[in-house]
Amino acid sequence: MKRMFPGAQRSLAGHIALVLFCLLALALPKSTAAQQRETLLLGIEPEHNIFDQVERYRVLAEYLSDQLGIRVDLTIMSRYGEVIKRFRDRQLDGAFLSPYTAALGIRQLGLLPVASPVNLNGEAASRGYIFVRADSGIQSAADMRGKNMVFVDPATMEGYLYPRTYLHEQGVKSLDTFFSRYSFAGSHASVIFAVLDGRADIGAAKDTVYDKMVGQDPSMGQELRIIARSPKEPEVTLCLTKELRAELREKISEILLHMETTSRGKRVLKQFEALRFIESNPADFATIEEMAEEAGIPLDARDADG
């Protein structure tokens, strides 16, 4: 055999060496996205106007780039639940997340909450409203039966988790049977416009968006009536992957938490429409977890894509 297949013996040895090399390469620890690209990629969840939103966050990203000495890129999600998937697919280094997706990321991906912006009203937290048209005659959950309900996105606390929890508390077991129709508008503003336009009877959205639109057009406040309000949860939280180097995470946290102490930081905060950043930690999202448990959609079981 040996005389018959000497070349085959050498070929086999070569193949074995190649396989061992590949295994060795795979055994080496993976470098982080930032280390590989020398950039930091942060995701953004869509709000009222994704274009204005991107512009606001770009100012903050440029500031971080300058302070960190590395490039900071942004990527916006077309919907809220997409961010968890993008964390995996696009190797995001972090994202500014709404409370529900933040809680999901912390639970499912081990994301680390770093900081939350305090808005111009001095609030770092937001809540969810369940509202109807004032002339709809709906006063309570019971009046909602058979109506048309519009949610924001299954991955939002204000636009889905809270109304599910509220409805569950009010005894609603199945949305399909309770409402004549329910849908997801994709954004809080779309929900509000859908209710205002009469394309839906009941809506659920974030208070900051609601209050802003009513502030811009007070007639909207007269046309709408809030049925229920959720507890306050961190509105937006920058969560970073645990794979990101600890010193970089700490540096990012340090920069954000002290932005208001520098003149340029103040200017950036103003353009970002925030007063400052406050420290954030996983305990801030305990209520979200409880709400999910209560609504029957525990975070562990929640599909990352919603």
Binding site: N49, F51, I76, S78, A185, G186, S187, F193
Partner: protein
């Protein structure tokens, strides 16, 4: 000129500066137009970008949710680019209508963004999503349509502005071209003016210097020019005139020097370092009787007769060492003789070459003068001797004539003794004439004038001279000839000298025609006489005559054509006649004879007659004091006065005479007349005595008596205080007339 240069350069600078300003202005204007065009093009690019972005977004809008849909980040980027393009439009447009359009576009963009956002973030209700998509698409189309409208507007503006810009560029090009052309003309003009202002005066000066170099000294440029050049040309003109003046001065100096050298009676020789004669003047030629050409080939040593004492080389060496030297030497003459000269030589070195400047003064005349001077001195000594002899002779003759005269007066005429004494008296008179000649010869003094009958004087004098010779006189003497106021002795000497010359000119014998006549000179007469009455005397001989060349020099001292002559005879004649205010002329023709003419001023006819009336002895009375140092003179004069009837006193000198005169006056028996000798050896003479007597008696009457009949005191005795004269020797008759005239007033 400096001011004009400064102004010119300042003008050029200002022109250059203005050119820069204009150029910058034009470039700025053109650039602004081009910038405007570029801005419009940029607007068009922005608009195209806007359309492209809108179309991209529209494409994204239509493909969202399909296989061809873009990622949301790309869509967001496209929308934000679209927004940037819209906002960038506002950077340029501020025109209200345009700004309003842009605001609407911006508003549409905002609506578009919001609509897109709704569409993109909507995840449920397909119909609603499609509606949102349609709304967004409509807004996008509207934006595209608006941008197309804006494109039309912008294109129109671009076309208009392009035309305008091209027109402005053309205008700018023209302005620049005109500016450059104008600047070129101005620069050329200024340059031409400056070059002309500088080169013309320089050319003029160059021409002037050439003219001067060509010998046109004193050339004066009339060129005016600018201030500095005018001053320069004026200075040049001054220099030219000064050069001319200096040149003329040098030429004049050279001419003068040449004239001096050519006309001087001194000879001149320029001798080079080797002793060769390189120049000689006419006087040297005359002196040496050699031609200039002959002199210029000679050595200076060949010209000199140095004898055996000194060589020519040694002489030149001495001159060279001393610098200048004066010495006497003989110069060889052409006829083999020598000419005594005084050489004044100076050695001068010029430009390395030495020259001897030798002036030769002819000493012949000086030597002759010296000889004549010696001769004159001898004559003067002889004259002094003759004067002394004549004086003594006159004193002696006074006694001789006086005693003969007194003796004759005691004898009866016709007696044998009377005749002898008459002859003795005549011989004494000739002796008196001889002493008179001796005195005239010795002293030549002022004439002692008295009224003289010319006829008698002529006859006595000529006979005396011609006595014993083969020459006779023919007399043509007019009747009633006027008397003359003359020194008888001097006029007699003149007659004798001329007669003697005539006799000597006729060695073979002949006749001298002696003529005398009255002549009244009119105001304008051919003899240059002052108007008045004259007695004309003529002496015409038949001798050989005098050459014309000698005729003018015939009265010069020491000039004589006779080998034995002194050259003084005619000179004395001329002097005597002149002192008598007369005139003597001479006419002569060789082989025919010579004629001398003498004019002597005549006296009034009355006085001539008075002279006639006073002839004969005049007796008188009174006291006469006689002062004379000679005892025999005192004695004979005393006898004469006693014979004439006068009482006589005697004094040996002036002091005694004064004493006697004073005492006689005190005693009441004063002297009426004092006769005093002029010269008292060792005592007070008559001149001083009369002065002192006039102190004692201002009315003293004094007669001067002297053997020196030509003494100046005698010639003008009244000026010295005398009333009359009695020239020794005098006889009783003469003395009586003088005393009579004085005493009778």
């Amino acid at each position: 000129m400096k001011k004009k240069i400064i102004i010119s350069f300042l003008s050029l600078f200002l022109l250059f500066f203005a050119g820069i300003v204009i150029t910058l202005y034009i470039v700025g204007k053109t650039t602004a137009n081009l910038n405007s065009l570029l801005a419009l093009h940029k607007v068009e690019i922005i608009r195209q970008d806007l359309v492209i972005n809108v179309q991209n977004v529209q494409s994204n809008l239509y493909t969202t949710g399909t296989l061809f849909g873009k990622e949301l980040d790309i869509i967001v980027d496209n929308v934000l680019k679209l927004q940037d393009r819209v906002l960038s439009c506002n950077d340029c447009h501020h025109n209200p209508p345009v700004a309003q359009g842009l605001a609407e576009l911006e508003e549409l963009t905002e609506q578009y963004k919001e609509a897109l956002s709704y569409f993109i973030t909507s995840t449920a209700d397909t119909q609603r999503i499609e509606r949102l998509q349609a709304v967004a698409a409509d807004i996008g189309d509207t934006i595209i349509a608006r941008s197309q409208d804006m494109a039309l507007t912008a294109n129109e503006a671009l076309r208009r502005k392009t035309t305008d810009a091209l027109e402005k560029v053309n205008n700018s090009r023209k302005i620049l071209a005109y500016t450059l052309l104008f600047a070129l003309f101005v620069v050329v003009g200024i340059s031409f003016y400056l070059i002309r202002s500088i080169t013309r005066p320089v050319a003029e000066l160059l021409q002037a210097t050439r003219k001067i170099r060509q010998g046109e000294l004193g050339y004066v440029s009339s060129f005016g020019g600018e201030a500095e050049f005018k001053e320069l040309i004026a200075s040049f003109n001054d220099m030219s005139l000064i050069l001319l003046a200096n040149h003329e001065n040098i030429l004049a100096q050279m001419a003068r020097n040449q004239t001096i050298l050519q006309s001087t009676t001194d000879g001149f020789a320029l001798v080079d370092d080797h002793g060769r004669i390189v120049d000689a003047n006419p006087s040297l030629c005359r002196m040496t009787e050699l031609g200039r050409e002959a002199l210029l080939v000679m050595h200076f040593a060949d010209l000199l007769d140095l004898g055996g004492g000194l060589s020519a080389e040694s002489l030149l060496a001495r001159i060279r060492e001393a610098g200048s030297l004066v010495y006497q030497v003989d110069v060889k003459a052409g006829d083999g003789g020598t000419v005594p000269v005084e050489v004044s030589a100076t050695y001068v070195e010029m430009e390395g070459n030495g020259s001897y400047f030798c002036f030769l003064r002819d000493l012949s005349e000086r030597k002759k003068m010296e000889t004549e001077l010696i001769k004159g001195q001898k004559l003067e000594s002889l004259g002094v001797l003759a004067g002394g002899i004549a004086h003594d002779f006159n004193n002696l003759l006074t006694g001789i004539i006086g005693y003969i005269d007194l003796t004759l007066r005691t004898l009866t005429p016709g007696e044998k003794n009377h005749g002898w004494l008459e002859n003795a008296k005549k011989a004494s008179a000739r002796a008196q004439g001889l002493t008179q000649q001796l005195l005239t010869f010795s002293r030549g003094g002022e004439p002692v004038k008295s009224l003289v009958q010319v006829k008698e004087l002529l006859e006595e004098s000529t006979r005396f001279v011609l006595s014993g010779s083969n020459v006779k006189c023919a007399y043509r003497i007019a009747d009633h000839l006027w008397a003359v106021n003359a020194d008888k002795g001097q006029i007699s000497q003149v007659i004798q000298n001329i007669t003697l010359n005539g006799a000597q000119a006729m060695s073979q014998g002949g006749t001298i025609t002696v003529a005398a006549e009255n002549y009244e000179a009119p105001l304008d007469n051919p003899h240059n006489l002052a108007p008045g009455k004259y007695v004309r005397l003529e002496f015409a001989d038949q001798g050989s005559g005098i050459a014309r060349k000698d005729l003018a020099k015939i009265f010069d001292p020491y000039f004589s054509t006779k080998k034995t002559g002194t050259g003084l005879g005619l000179t004395i004649c001329h002097s005597i006649v002149s002192k008598h205010n007369g005139r003597i002329t001479v006419e002569s023709e060789l082989g025919v004879g010579t004629r001398f003419t003498i004019f002597l001023p005549a006296v009034e006819e009355g006085r001539s007659e008075q002279l006639v009336h006073l002839s004969g002895v005049v007796h008188g009375s009174g006291r006469i004091l006689v002062m004379d140092d000679e005892e025999h003179v005192r004695a004979i004069v005393g006898e004469m006065l006693t014979y004439l009837g006068y009482e006589v006193g005697f004094a040996q000198d002036g002091a005694e005479a004064i004493d006697l005169y004073a005492r006689a006056k005190l005693n009441g028996s004063p002297y009426d007349v004092v006769i005093m000798d002029l010269t008292i050896p060792g005592g007070m003479g008559g001149r001083e005595t009369v002065s002192k007597l006039r102190e004692i008696d201002p009315d003293v009457k004094a007669i001067v008596s002297s053997g020196y009949s030509n003494d100046p005191v005698l010639a003008d005795f009244r000026a010295y205080g005398f009333q009359g004269i009695a020239s020794k020797p005098f006889d009783t008759e003469g003395l009586s007339r003088v005393l009579h005239e004085i005493i009778t007033g």
